[in-house]
């Protein structure tokens, strides 16, 4: 292997020199990427690397790098597929800034990552070197040009004959190169090769002993090659967890949470990036007595769920932005007729079909307002994988207690982010109550609103004396159609009052850091890890900066005005669109703000600023940190 920080890239040839194993240097955390054409297995290798690190006791966060097409052209930026794995001694909550190390199966896929600012000067690139000697001149040239370009960008390129090394052990190197690379990374980061072997066996055992054996051979080969040839190695100290941990991505957590919450029906229509939650339920739900219904469209999906809910089996529907748009009329019906229901929206880039595989937090306002008329509903936003699981239980409970639809907003970042969290301690209380078929009290109307709270109990088909005709038309306590002005005003009050009731029962949200200071950064959903890391960095410099992460967006958590008023500047960080406040852009009166900022401004009358972007990627802590420092600087010069 040759390190080519100064030489012309096309002259570099790998050497076979064997050297003594280098002692690893200790680092507190690391960011590694594996990138290849899709179908070359880099995602499998990346996931395995993440799990190995998690099992060793490192904090980890794994992000999938997904191409938008099924069979993108080979050797193209559009086809880049893989993983970023960030791991560290402490808990890791986000994807971090730039990568320390990237392994690439060809040079072109790296350009998709360069476009996302994934690397920095000094990032080590370990790259398959066969492209330098293929018969096609165009490819050889492209390879050489790219390598030269990488050097101008300051990356440190290491060419490796990956395929050739694999061919010493197997006949088809394209299958299995990923595992050789996993072995190499295990050597580079001092990973426990025993754990890696176990995970390979676990993952591949279904494919038969021969496949497992081949892959174990490649793992060891990559590992040994790394020990013998790597010019540097690292180790990341572990703090073995004091309690059992589970590891999964956000969509799995949503699916498993739905099972733990006792849902019996999940009704969906396929849409990226929500579908994998349904794939997960399709394989597991039955074991917990549930049924996954793939409907003919999103409208039918929610209609089916509402039917099941009406019949006493509070149901779930999972979708993404375009599907949420189709569901709005039914959401309005559920609000109006007070049917409990949970809707998970795994947000992606919009508007329209937008960026299907990429992250955005752009559906907050749609979730709040999209249904016709006034349609108050509960909106929750989990901020970690752990919360994706637990919020499903909360969501079902709130839906039933408040007799209302509950929208759970996650996003593509949570959906594909993999993170260990403490194993949930299940409780029978989390399950939905069994169907009540006892006679209904004749004297209680189907909408027997408590005027103080707006709450009421609902009869369910099968309950004698509970019969009522549910309707989306304006109706009175008996569910009789009522066009009387006074009744319509009153029933609106009752539905809205439920939100006030929920709000009263909540605690004032807790600020991360001091409850007063110069800058408060407010976020919701998947940005929490990056925000808290950024805030931590500036606080380490003695700055008075705190953050606040909202989990309940409708009703807004109580006391926000007081909380926000304790800071000189308040700024939201959101992955959605807002007008740029720079000169030449819309004047402040006309400026369109990011979605949570919009809500907080109208809710608190405080001049809440926003940092928002629609790059289709999560915020890095560095970007947020830079903005906080900019605000601090502006404050100090006032």
């Amino acid at each position: 292997m040759t390190s080519s920080s100064s030489l012309a890239a096309d002259k570099i040839k790998p050497t076979k020199k064997k050297s003594a194993t280098i002692e690893p240097q200790s680092v507190s955390n690391a960011i590694v990427e594996i990138v290849s054409d899709s179908g070359e297995g880099s995602q499998t290798a990346g996931q395995l690397f993440g799990i190995v690190s998690a099992r060793m006791g490192n904090g980890t966060w794994t992000v999938e790098l997904i191409p938008a097409e099924i069979e993108p052209p080979a050797r193209s930026p559009a086809g880049a597929s893989g993983n970023r794995i960030r791991f560290g001694t402490d808990v890791v909550t986000n994807m971090g800034d730039t990568a320390d190390v990237v392994v690439a199966f060809n040079e072109q896929v790296l350009y998709s990552r360069i476009d996302k600012d994934a690397f920095r000067e000094g990032t080590h690139i370990f790259i398959e070197n066969k492209w330098g000697s293929v018969p096609q001149e165009a490819i050889r040239k492209a390879y050489a040009t790219a390598l030269a370009d990488f050097q101008t960008r300051g990356y440190v390129v290491h060419e490796i004959a990956m395929e050739k090394e694999c061919l010493r052990h197997v006949t088809d190197a394209r299958r299995g190169k990923n595992i050789w690379v996993l072995g190499l990374l295990c050597a580079l980061y001092d990973r426990d090769i025993g754990i890696a072997s176990e995970e390979i066996e676990r993952k591949l055992s279904r494919k038969g002993a021969k496949v497992v054996e081949n892959n174990l051979t490649l793992l060891r080969a990559g590992y040994e090659w790394g020990l013998a040839n790597l010019p540097f190695r690292y180790t990341v100290a572990v703090k073995p967890p004091d309690k059992p941990m589970v590891v999964m991505n956000g969509n799995q957590a949503v699916g498993l949470g739905a099972m733990a919450a006792g849902f019996e029906i999940c009704s969906m229509y396929p849409i990226t990036p929500a579908t994998s939650a349904s794939h997960y339920l399709a394989s597991e739900f039955k074991k917990a007595g549930g049924f996954l219904h793939q409907a003919e469209d999103e409208i039918a999906a929610i209609g089916f769920a509402i039917g099941a809910s009406y019949a006493g089996k509070t149901a779930l529907t999972i979708t993404s932005g375009p599907g949420l748009a189709l569901k709005t009329e039914f959401i309005g019906l559920a609000v109006m007729s007070e049917i409990p229901l949970v809707i998970v929206d795994v947000q992606r880039g919009g508007p329209s079909t937008g960026l299907p595989t990429r992250v955005e937090q752009s559906d907050l306002l749609a979730a709040l307002f999209a249904s016709p008329g006034d349609s108050p509903k509960i909106i929750l936003a989990p901020s970690t994988i752990d919360e994706c699981f637990h919020f499903m239980i909360t969501a079902r409970r709130l839906a039933e207690m408040f007799r209302t639809p509950v929208i759970v907003l996650t996003d593509a970042n949570l959906a594909t982010g993999v993170q260990p969290f403490p194993r949930p301690r299940l409780s029978e209380k989390w399950l939905s109550p069994p169907l009540d078929m006892s006679p209904w009290d004749k004297n209680v109307d189907p909408y027997d609103w408590d005027p103080e709270t707006g709450l009421s109990q609902r009869p369910v088909p099968g309950q004698k004396d509970g019969k009522y005709i549910l309707t989306g038309l304006a109706h009175d306590e008996k569910s009789h159609v009522a066009y009387v002005s006074r009744i319509n005003q009153y029933t609106h009050d009752m539905r809205s009052r439920k939100l006030a009731t929920l709000q009263h029962s909540l605690n004032k949200p807790i600020v991360n850091g001091e409850p007063e200071g110069d800058v408060l950064v407010v976020g919701w959903g998947s940005t929490r890890g990056a925000i808290e890391e950024a805030v931590g960095r500036v606080r380490d410099d003695g700055e008075k900066v705190s953050s606040l992460h909202l989990r309940i967006l409708s009703p807004l958590e109580p006391g926000l005005k007081e909380v926000l008023s304790e800071f000189k500047r308040v700024i939201t960080v959101e992955i959605n669109y807002s007008d740029n406040p720079d000169p030449g852009q819309p004047e402040s009166n006309n400026r369109r703000y990011a979605q949570l900022a919009f809500c907080l401004r109208s809710h608190t009358f405080i001049d809440v600023e926003c940092l928002s972007m629609v790059h289709g990627i999560p915020f890095s802590p560095g970007t947020i940190e830079a903005e906080i420092r900019r605000i601090l600087k502006a404050l100090s010069t006032v």
Binding site: I265, G289, Y310
Partner: protein, 317 residues
């Protein structure tokens, strides 16, 4: 001292239901509206079959005919325009114990709800579907529906619809896994009743198109048929809709049709010279989606917890 009496054990009184037990609010349909006799037939059916009112759900969309649930004293779901099918399927999915009736109009079913119509037929979950076909949008006051005849004048097509209407029976018969398709008229109570009864007894989705008079907007469409029964063609078969002498006498124009013969049914469905009434097609062994969707309803809570624990074991690191 407290005088504690042991309660007398009383046998629960056997419940017997009369027509009134199924009568909800007073119907607000126009006088002479064909929806009225259908309501009476359904109430009679419930009485004759002694359906428990609390175990019966009538689901509808939006339209004049979709007001149907309000006039029944059962559970009811008067939902969104075009969306009765998914709701009814969702109710059925985990509640095999309920009797489900669906009331839908020609606009509700064949226009805005057409996608759901096709899929509901294919899912074949047990329910009785009544398509109230008055050839018009009634509730919104006289717009063209998919079944409006070409030259009929409506407020959206004052010179008549541009293209020929859709044939709901022909469409339904061509959907995979269709299991019961019948046609009847609102103005012949015995045939209407027998058709709905056969539909109710069918183990799957029974689709009944009811030629429904709308004296308010489309009097000219079915009044001729009412006056001249020879414009209808009575399909007869020992396995078809049972007909009594009155029916046989009124509908002299008859044809023998075996309801297992799908091809012949499709031929009858597209006849333009008359409206066939009776049973077009029945297949009692068609696959049923509710057989799958109900899986696990009996599972007890500890088993559910166990399943999640096992999954957590698998995901534990």
């Amino acid at each position: 001292m407290l005088d504690i009496k042991t309660p007398k054990t009383t046998e629960p009184k056997p419940r017997f239901f009369t027509i009134e037990d199924y009568e909800g609010q007073v119907p607000r349909w126009c006088s002479g509206c064909g929806d009225l006799p259908v309501l009476a037939a359904v109430q009679r059916l419930c009485r004759d079959e002694q359906l428990l009112p609390e175990m019966t759900v009538v689901v509808s969309g939006i339209g004049c005919s979709s007001r149907f649930p309000h006039y029944m004293k059962t559970y009811g779901f008067h939902g969104l325009h075009g969306r009765a099918f998914p709701v009814a399927c969702g109710i059925r999915s985990r509640r095999p114990d309920l009797n489900i009736f669906v009331a839908t109009g020609d606009g509700d079913c064949c226009a805005i709800g057409a996608g759901h119509w096709i899929h509901a037929i294919r899912y074949n979950m047990k329910m009785v579907v009544m398509l109230f076909d008055n050839n018009i949008y009634g509730l919104t006051k006289k717009q063209t529906s998919p079944t409006t005849a070409k030259h009929a004048n409506t407020l959206t097509h004052p010179k008549g619809s541009f293209i020929s209407p859709l044939n709901p029976i022909a469409v339904t018969l061509s959907i995979s896994n269709v299991s019961f398709v019948a046609q009847t008229v609102d103005w012949n109570p015995p045939h209407l009743y027998q058709t709905l009864l056969a539909a109710h007894r069918h183990p799957g989705l029974a689709f009944v198109r009811i030629l429904q008079r709308c004296p308010h907007f489309t009097a000219e469409v079915f009044e001729p048929c009412q006056r001249d029964p020879s414009l209808l063609l009575l399909m007869k078969h020992p396995n078809g809709i049972s007909t009594d002498d009155t029916v046989n006498k009124i509908f002299k124009n008859q044809v023998e049709h075996d309801p297992t013969n799908l091809l012949e049914a499709q031929g009858l469905a597209v006849r333009e010279d008359c409206h066939p009434i009776g049973l077009f097609y029945r297949n009692e062994s068609a696959e049923r989606y509710d057989d799958f969707s109900k899986s696990g309803i009996e599972m007890d809570r500890s088993e559910k917890i166990k399943a999640v624990e096992e999954e957590l074991d698998r995901l534990q690191i």
